[in-house]
Symmetry: C2
Subunit: 190 residues, 2 copies
DNA sequence: AAATGTGAAGTTGTTCACAGCT
DNA sequence: AGCTGTGAACAACTTCACATTT
């Protein structure tokens, strides 16, 4: 999608699997194979229509409407994430932060309200929040996750370096910065 | 490793594949199969010796000595990353930040020096830097990556939402926060 | 009895090779 | 001529089933 958006910006109307694969960092056959799972979109001899393909994918991904997200744990990392502009372009808005110490002095001014934890349940219900970003210390991550699940959150983006245990209908995505570095480090031993 | 460390803290000396798999979020057979690629470490009827297994993995992962890393792009996200404590425990130290505007006012005080871009090549050479964290805007990510590669950096942890093109001996790991959210969002449509 | 280690079976994912459109 | 779409071949990964060991 991001690659297609960039092509659109350049007013390129048609793209071959070869070209698109190159910029997306995958192999052409892979790309074609994957696309066929959703139907036929290309024109043989020509390639894919950028706008059409883009439309298809966004339909497939579901409602592209702005989705509200909350962030729990407004510490170092949380503050950076809550101020991060990159989410909005993709249809997500962090509407509020929650923290045990909502009044803690944060150097960056954050436009979203930072609320105490006990306001979380009502907020989630009232704003029909379905996803949360979890950037609390490891020691309390499971506990906070339990609260989120109990309030009806269905997806958690977990930045804490532990595996959190949730009912199977709840989806967790882990982002572990140390693991990413370790990974790199392992593969660059020469 | 992280799970084993936690078990060690609790002074648990022996663990079954079943238990370890549970806390690591994988399946027991998977875990056993994977471990056998490095040899036999378990005791049938008993399980794995936590210390021994831990030792084996750290040997396998290579030198656990502190590895110096630089961070390029000390903006919102970069500032959070450079102040993030989680890396040190895993053997990485961000030793310096680089930015086009090194003097830009940053609200958080950062203990590492923030240097101008033109100091980067010498710094990398002098400190034998092999890995870099790239948290610059998408528009300049490729350009900065080129500089890093030219200076001899072998691994890049890329936070910008574009695919960067590097020689194949250079390893890139991508972390894309918006993609993670999208992913979640896709799987929680009910 | 409890748990590992592992060949075999099963499943999923990737690439090839090329027929078939435009 | 160029490029897609796709069955078939291939490769990688996961799980099963159970012999084996403590």
């Amino acid at each position: 999608m991001r690659c297609l958006a960039r092509l659109k910006d350049k007013e390129i109307q048609t793209v071959s699997s070869e070209t698109l694969a190159k910029v997306a960092g995958v192999k052409p056959t892979q790309l074609r194979k994957d696309l066929t799972y959703f139907g036929q979109f290309g024109t043989r001899g020509l390639g894919y229509d950028v706008a059409e393909l883009s439309k298809m994918i966004s339909d497939e991904l579901g409602t592209t409407s702005l989705q509200p997200v909350i962030l729990v744990g407004v510490g170092h990392l949380g503050t950076a994430l809550i101020s991060y502009r990159g989410f909005e372009k993709e249809g997500f808005e962090i509407v509020a932060g929650f923290d045990l110490e909502p009044e803690r002095r944060r150097d960056k001014q954050v436009k979203q309200p930072i609320l105490p934890m006990d306001r979380l349940p009502d907020f989630v219900r009232d704003h029909k929040i379905r996803m949360a970003i979890l950037s609390v210390p490891a020691a309390v991550a499971q506990e906070v996750a339990n609260v989120l699940v109990r309030c009806g959150v269905m997806g958690i983006l977990n930045f804490s370096p532990i595996v959190i245990d949730v009912p199977e209908e709840v989806m967790v995505n882990n982002v572990n910065l140390a693991i990413e570095l370790e990974n790199l480090s392992y593969f660059i031993q020469d």
